[in-house]
């Protein structure tokens, strides 16, 4: 059966979208819908085999707006529900939609273990550094000092960096994109969809109601070139509107150098598929005030996915013991017969 040729509209649900006007989620939805036809083409996948599973929060309304299968579940648990689904149904392309509260506060545990197991799901974490649906409390990614309704004197909590956590969880695909950079986001979504195992994508997304401008200083069209670092596998980490600066390591720590003072061939070349996650971690930990903010794929390594390993065990067991037969199995071992007197 040849795969249908899909268009963007095939993925647009009839449901009215109910995010606040101006919300960054619209842009993400639109890019996901736009890139779906290409993903289906690449993976020879039909629309009915695509599922979006979400938790709770503004971003978790996402599945209602996709004309695919969807499951809007409970707070923080989407990665676990998606794990159960994907293990039983490896024929499906399963996406997880989560946010900084859903994925990094109430559901951190599941996210960590989903990544560690390399479950074949594609996780999009919408990071707006605020709690939106509960109307504006600080989130685990809110900056220290953030004044919100629940932190009127400023948050006293150290924020967590989503990509650092993903890397520490042994994730095999770790990337960051901005909702405002559609082209880059689409590329990353496509790569995530085609990755073997868990793909974790942090999407910087503006909440214009409770945390407006959170990423403005490095994601707007005006600032992006100068304040973002677009990672290219196999290339040095050069950035700037004039591509005149770069990141390198000195004594194990990152520093910014000017290209006119430092020959390009001596720069550190970025390698997304390095076995050791050290370089990716250095990048994920860069101070966003002092350094450009890296965008793109931080890490992409190949490792068997959870479903593949489980199915391998099933195949091995069948090969070794034969396909299980219920009554034969029940009656094997220490049994005895009672005969009619």
């Amino acid at each position: 059966m040849t795969n249908p040729k899909y268009e963007r509209k095939d993925f647009v649900a009839k449901e009215d979208v109910r995010w606040c006007p101006g919300c960054g989620d619209y842009a993400v939805l639109s890019q996901v819908q736009r890139v779906m036809p290409e993903i289906c083409e690449r993976l020879q996948l039909r629309r009915e085999n695509i599922v979006f599973v979400s938790g709770i929060g503004c971003s978790s309304r996402f599945p209602y707006y996709m004309n695919t299968y969807g499951f809007h579940t409970i707070h923080g648990r989407a990665p676990a529900i998606a794990t159960g689904l994907q293990l039983c149904r490896p024929d499906l392309l399963v996406w997880v939609i989560t946010g900084d509260g859903d994925g990094l506060s109430i559901g951190t545990n599941h996210l960590v273990h989903c990544l560690r197991r390399n479950v074949n799901v594609k996780i999009l974490l919408f990071n707006n550094r605020i709690y939106g649906l509960t109307k504006g409390q600080f989130s685990p990614t809110s900056e220290k000092g953030k004044k919100t309704k629940s932190s009127p004197m400023g948050s006293i909590e150290q924020p967590i960096k989503p990509l650092s956590m993903a890397l520490a969880s042994e994730a095999t695909f770790v990337a960051r994109a901005s909702a405002t950079d559609g082209k880059n986001l689409q590329e990353i979504l496509l790569r995530a969809a085609c990755h073997r195992g868990s793909a974790f994508v942090e999407i910087l997304q503006n909440c214009n109601v409770f945390n407006d401008g959170a990423f403005e200083s490095f994601t707007s069209a005006a600032t992006r070139q100068d304040r973002s670092l677009y990672l290219q596998h196999g290339s040095p980490m050069i950035f700037g509107a004039n591509r005149d600066r770069a990141i390198r390591l000195r004594a194990g720590f990152p520093e910014i150098v000017r290209l006119d003072e430092f020959p390009e061939k001596e720069l550190l070349v970025f390698n997304e598929s390095a076995a050791h996650p050290g370089l990716a971690y250095m990048l994920s930990e860069l101070d966003e005030q002092a350094f450009p903010v890296p965008m793109g794929v931080f890490r992409c390594v190949d490792r068997s996915s959870f479903d593949e390993l489980l199915d391998e065990q099933i195949e091995t067991a069948v090969a070794k013991r034969g396909k299980g037969k219920l009554l034969e199995y029940i009656n094997s071992g220490d049994t005895w017969k009672v005969t009619a007197p």
């Binding site: 004309n67 499951f71 149904r89 099933i314």
Partner: protein, 654 residues
């Protein structure tokens, strides 16, 4: 009733043989002494010989509690019988104690005039001290007066027996449980050869690693030497004046095996998967006493069974829900504290109307409670323990083998009604064993699966008029793409709805759907007269003790019936009628009166409770005494003095 006959082992020597219709033996020792293994071997031998058997294993919550202390005592009670039995028995006829602590802990339970076999070597000053006997020795201070006591130097005889193998002292003394087994096997007239075969097959099954095989063979050799030494000791040394013989039970013809409740539960879920031809995903977080279900199902890979040791209890049910959403059998298992964590997710499965089964192997609560003890205190948690009006079906298994059919039944109902189903088991069922007549192909129940796909414009919450279930449509089905979720949904269409009238309608529909299951489950049956003076109503693992107590009361000519609820939500349709057919209703429970509260609330019947919350199962005598009390019969002819009753009449809802 004693009779004399020739001993089969020693022609010419006259031995006294006592015939018994049943015998209750309790093995006790330190938790490192291999008591569970010993009990299990003897049980198997009993079952193979054709006795009906029932067991009660007990072990400390600590993996290695301090050796020799009362806290570290592990025990295993076996009741084997020539008639059908349903309980491990109240008071053992014989207690085998491998150390003073074991004697201290279990002596009070021994039947008056019962037999004690103890390891005399273990009663040194250190052993007595650890067991809390300071300055006294129970062997000669009158503590054991009235019992038949056999003091056997088990440790030293064991060391002597295995000496040819050259084991170190520690390894060698580990065989003393087998010496003890040898004594018991002789006392109960068993064939030494058949027990030895058991020892061989058990140890060889223990490992699949060739490197370990030789070590296990050596262990088996040592164990058999010790066993045979114990057997021969009993036979030769004319200390044991009496052997006991128990006849075969009249069991239904068929193939039998011994199962624990947890094994039967796992096999039942496997059967549900095979019957429905839907693959099974079991996700679970290790917890006592449910972990063995995970261990067991993890061995079924060749059936395509998928198991996941989840990161936590919530993840476990979440994975099961994911599997159910994917059209497969989603299953999770835990004990009470785990259920507490899963409750929000159960609510999601109720709202999304997905078939998920949750097995709760109940233990003592609240909080961490008594992990290795049994209780029935999670009934209300299963029925009501969620936010919102959130009805689910609740079933209970009443014995180890019964877990098999109830596990299948749980999935039958879950799928037919598109609902989460709780299956309640408990610690004593989970670890207890009984002979199980395995089913023939034709005896396996059917599981109806949805036929065909919805026609026309797909309405996610359109319902079958008979069952009120919505249709199970999994991803991958072309043209029926839809989104489920935990938000309230519009009746029929399944779109998100905040409409107030719709919410009330949906709440009612979900309730009616669950109540409607009553049309689809067997009516409640009673054991005994269809009407009379007293109905003893139970649920779950109290079945055996209730049945036995009622049987005994009936033999006194009392008008008493017993009935066990396997279905707790909804109740069987005829329950009200059954309740009203008796002048009084007694509800024994291992909790503070949870079923009793439900019965009172729903049927306005002033049921009496008998409530025990000690972490121990009921004794037959405890229930029997309460029956006599309620019927105004003085407890004449009662054999056992009763321990203090943990009654809490009226603690709930009264």
């Amino acid at each position: 009733m004693a009779s004399h006959r020739e001993s089969p082992e020693k022609p010419g020597k006259t031995r006294q043989f006592k015939e018994m219709d049943h015998a209750i033996v309790r093995f006790a020792g330190d938790s490192g002494d291999g008591i569970q293994l010993t009990g299990s071997l003897f049980t198997h031998d009993s079952a193979v010989l054709g006795h009906d058997v029932s067991t009660l294993p007990e072990y400390p919550a600590e993996i290695r509690a301090p050796a020799g202390t009362r806290a570290g005592v592990s025990s295993f009670q076996l009741n084997f019988s020539s008639a059908e039995i349903h309980t491990p028995g109240d008071r053992p006829h014989m207690l085998l104690a491998l150390n003073p602590a074991a004697l201290a802990v279990h002596l009070a339970d021994l039947m008056p005039g019962g037999t004690i076999v103890l390891d005399d070597d273990a009663f040194d000053t250190a052993g007595l001290g650890k067991a809390g006997f300071s300055g006294t020795d129970p062997r000669d201070d009158g503590t054991l007066a009235g019992y038949q006591v056999y003091r056997v130097p088990i440790t030293s005889l064991t060391l002597e027996a295995v000496r040819p193998l050259g084991l170190d002292k520690k390894q060698a003394s580990l065989c003393k449980n087998m010496f003890m087994l040898g004594l018991v096997a002789w006392i109960y007239d068993r064939s030494a050869v058949s027990v030895e075969k058991q020892i061989d097959s058990l140890l060889e099954r223990k490992t699949t690693q060739p490197a370990m095989l030789e070590k296990y063979r050596e262990q088996a050799r040592a164990n058999k030497l010790a066993f045979r030494a114990g057997y021969n000791y009993a036979d030769t040394v004319e200390v044991f004046v009496c052997r006991y013989a128990v006849g075969k039970a009249k069991l239904l013809p068929g193939t039998y095996r011994r199962v624990t409740g947890n094994e039967a539960t796992a096999l039942g879920f496997l059967a549900a998967s095979v019957i429905s031809q839907r693959s099974l995903l079991y996700a679970s977080y290790p917890i006592t006493p449910a972990s063995d279900i995970l261990h067991e199902l993890s061995r079924y890979r060749h059936f395509g069974v998928r198991t996941v040791q989840a990161e936590d209890e919530i993840a476990a049910i979440a994975m099961a829900i994911g599997a159910a959403y994917g059209g497969c059998l989603g299953l999770t298992g835990t004990s009470g504290p785990g259920v507490a964590l899963k409750t929000e997710a159960v609510g999601l499965a109720v709202m999304a109307e997905l078939p998920v089964v949750i097995v709760n192997v109940q233990r003592g609560g609240p909080s961490t409670g008594l992990p290795t003890k049994t209780e029935q205190s999670d009934l209300l948690q299963a029925i009501y323990g969620r936010n919102g009006e959130c009805p689910v079906a609740v079933l209970a298994a009443h014995s180890p083998a019964h877990c098999f059919e109830m596990a299948i039944e749980a999935f039958r109902i879950a799928i037919r009604y598109m609902t989460p189903v709780f299956l309640l088991s408990d610690g004593s069922i989970a670890n207890g064993t009984e002979p199980w007549r395995t089913p023939e192909e034709s005896e396996l129940p059917a599981i109806d699966l949805p036929q065909g796909l919805p026609a026309g414009d797909y309405q996610v919450y359109a319902r079958d008029p008979g069952t009120l279930a919505r249709q199970w449509v999994a991803p991958g089905t072309p043209g029926l793409e839809h989104c489920l979720g935990g938000l309230e949904k519009q009746d029929i269409s399944g779109k998100v709805s905040h409409d107030s009238a719709n919410h009330q309608r949906m709440v009612r529909l979900r309730m009616e759907k669950i109540q409607g299951i009553a049309k689809d489950i067997p009516e409640l049956t009673v054991f005994g007269p269809a009407q009379g003076d007293l109905l003893v109503l139970g649920w779950g693992g109290t079945f055996g003790a209730i049945h036995h107590a009622v049987e005994r009361a009936q033999r006194r000519g009392l008008s008493v019936a017993a009935s066990q609820l396997d279905y707790l939500n909804p109740f069987p349709a005829n329950l009200g009628k059954v309740l009203r057919s008796y002048r009084q209703v007694l509800i024994p429970e291992l909790n503070a009166g949870q079923l009793r509260m439900l019965i009172r609330a729903q049927f306005l019947i002033d049921a009496a409770g008998l409530n025990k919350i000690t972490g121990q199962p009921f004794r037959t005598s405890e229930i029997e005494l309460e029956i006599l009390r309620l019927l105004g019969v003085q407890g004449g002819g009662r054999q056992d003095p009763l321990p203090p009753n943990e009654e809490v009449h009226g603690a709930i809802g009264a």
